[in-house]
């Protein structure tokens, strides 16, 4: 394990663990995904949260969604956010993701935003497909309960159309979730229905 990986990731980077997680990823239903709790160095995760809430956010609203979002964090001036982004783009971490997913990913290229969902915010069902996107990821920085709403819901599909929600992922602090972007990677963020703040960093790894 490289020094960089061990500085950032807690317990998932051992060789045996990676083999088991790859099996878990590829066999996950309704489509390949993983939910890894206590994923990053906890001290750094707290620093990232503190930094993210200082970043300017703007309201995004359309037919499909309503929430607050930062600009792409490629433009941030914050030290820890820059370091975090550099780590996610690094050869070490991208190689780690390739081992987990079996997908070939680009180094140095990543889309990455901070998001804030508050009462009545939502993201309706869609597949995330856009040229080049291979892996969608979410790094949760809040603890939610089922009663708050705000879960990431994954849909089953039939004839490449979404049918029903078969998995609900309730955001928990320092959980790293990712899934393969494909014609059937239908998902939604359930409406937040309490005064909780659902804070996360999300984005995409790209393929060659």
């Amino acid at each position: 394990m490289s020094k960089k990986i061990s500085e950032w990731i807690t317990k998932y980077a051992e060789k045996n663990t990676i083999v088991a997680l790859k099996k878990q990823f590829t066999s996950a239903k309704p489509y390949p995904h993983l939910v890894l709790s206590n994923f990053f160095n906890p001290k750094k995760s707290v620093e990232i949260l503190k930094a993210l809430v200082q970043e300017p956010m703007e309201e995004k609203e359309a037919d499909l969604f309503k929430f607050m979002q930062t600009k792409d964090l490629v433009g941030t001036n914050n030290k820890i956010l820059k370091e975090f982004r550099a780590f996610l783009c690094s050869d070490e971490f991208v190689s780690f993701m390739e081992h987990l997913t079996g997908l070939k990913l680009k180094r140095g290229v990543i889309d990455m935003h901070g998001t804030l969902y508050q009462d009545t915010d939502f993201l309706l069902c869609h597949d995330d497909q856009l040229e080049g996107r291979k892996i969608a990821f979410l790094f949760y920085l809040s603890n939610l309960k089922e009663k708050d709403g705000g879960s990431l819901n994954l849909f089953n599909s039939k004839n490449k159309m979404p049918t029903t929600v078969v998995k609900k992922i309730i955001p928990q602090f320092n959980t790293f979730t990712f899934f393969e972007v494909s014609p059937v990677s239908f998902h939604e963020v359930e409406e937040v229905i309490t005064d909780v703040q659902r804070i996360a960093i999300g984005g995409w790894f790209h393929g060659d």
Binding site: D63, L64, K66, T120, F122, G149, M161, P162, F186, I193
Partner: protein, 191 residues
């Protein structure tokens, strides 16, 4: 369906025609207190007895729909057709409509593969206690980022000419609506 007689005064019709045409991208007009009160109350009662069915396709829409016979009968009365023909300066043979019911978690989404042909939309609202904060606004977008958002309120008719490239959606209805329902009687007159 008895229309408010104010909307048959020549002076008012001229004003409505002017207002309708003033928005060149999305010509539209909103007419409050459109039906006479008794007629509006009868319509509301009729809607509550209609047999609604859930229509859900997660990436496109979620709502309930019904087509009670009085809707199309009412839309095709001589009075209604005469009124619309005057406002739109267009011969109209027949209008086909339905009633859609939006509650918590309902919506419609734009989709590049499901594009409506240009036409004239009619939306009539049959809900008395709907608040803007619940969502459910009808939004028209022209593909360039410009949009027109209208909250439909009780006994209100909205007429919108949807030109090429203009599409519409009904905003997601959030939990603040609780058990309340937004009933929209809607029809499209093809261009």
């Amino acid at each position: 369906m008895a229309i408010n007689p104010l909307y048959f005064k020549e002076e008012n019709i001229r004003k409505i025609q002017q207002m309708f045409a003033s928005n060149q991208t999305v010509p539209s007009i909103v007419l409050h207190d459109f039906f006479q009160k008794e007629c509006y109350e009868q319509l509301k009662q009729g809607i509550t007895r209609a047999a609604f069915q859930k229509e859900r396709h997660p990436i496109l829409y979620s709502y309930q729909e019904a087509t009670p016979s009085f809707v199309n009968e009412g839309l095709n009365t001589k009075e209604m057709l005469d009124f619309l023909q005057k406002i739109l300066n267009k011969k109209i043979k027949k209008i086909t409509g339905t009633v859609q019911c939006f509650g918590w978690k309902d919506y419609t989404i734009l989709n590049d593969e499901v594009v409506e042909k240009p036409g004239i939309d009619l939306f009539f609202c049959l809900s008395d206690d709907w608040d803007e904060s619940y969502g459910g606004n009808v939004v028209y977008v022209d593909g360039t980022g410009e949009y027109t958002k209208t909250l439909l309120t009780e006994n209100m008719l909205m007429i919108v000419e949807r030109k090429k490239g203009v599409q519409k959606f009904v905003q997601y209805v959030n939990h603040r609506a609780q058990n309340k329902k937004l009933y929209l009687m809607r029809a499209t007159i093809n261009a």
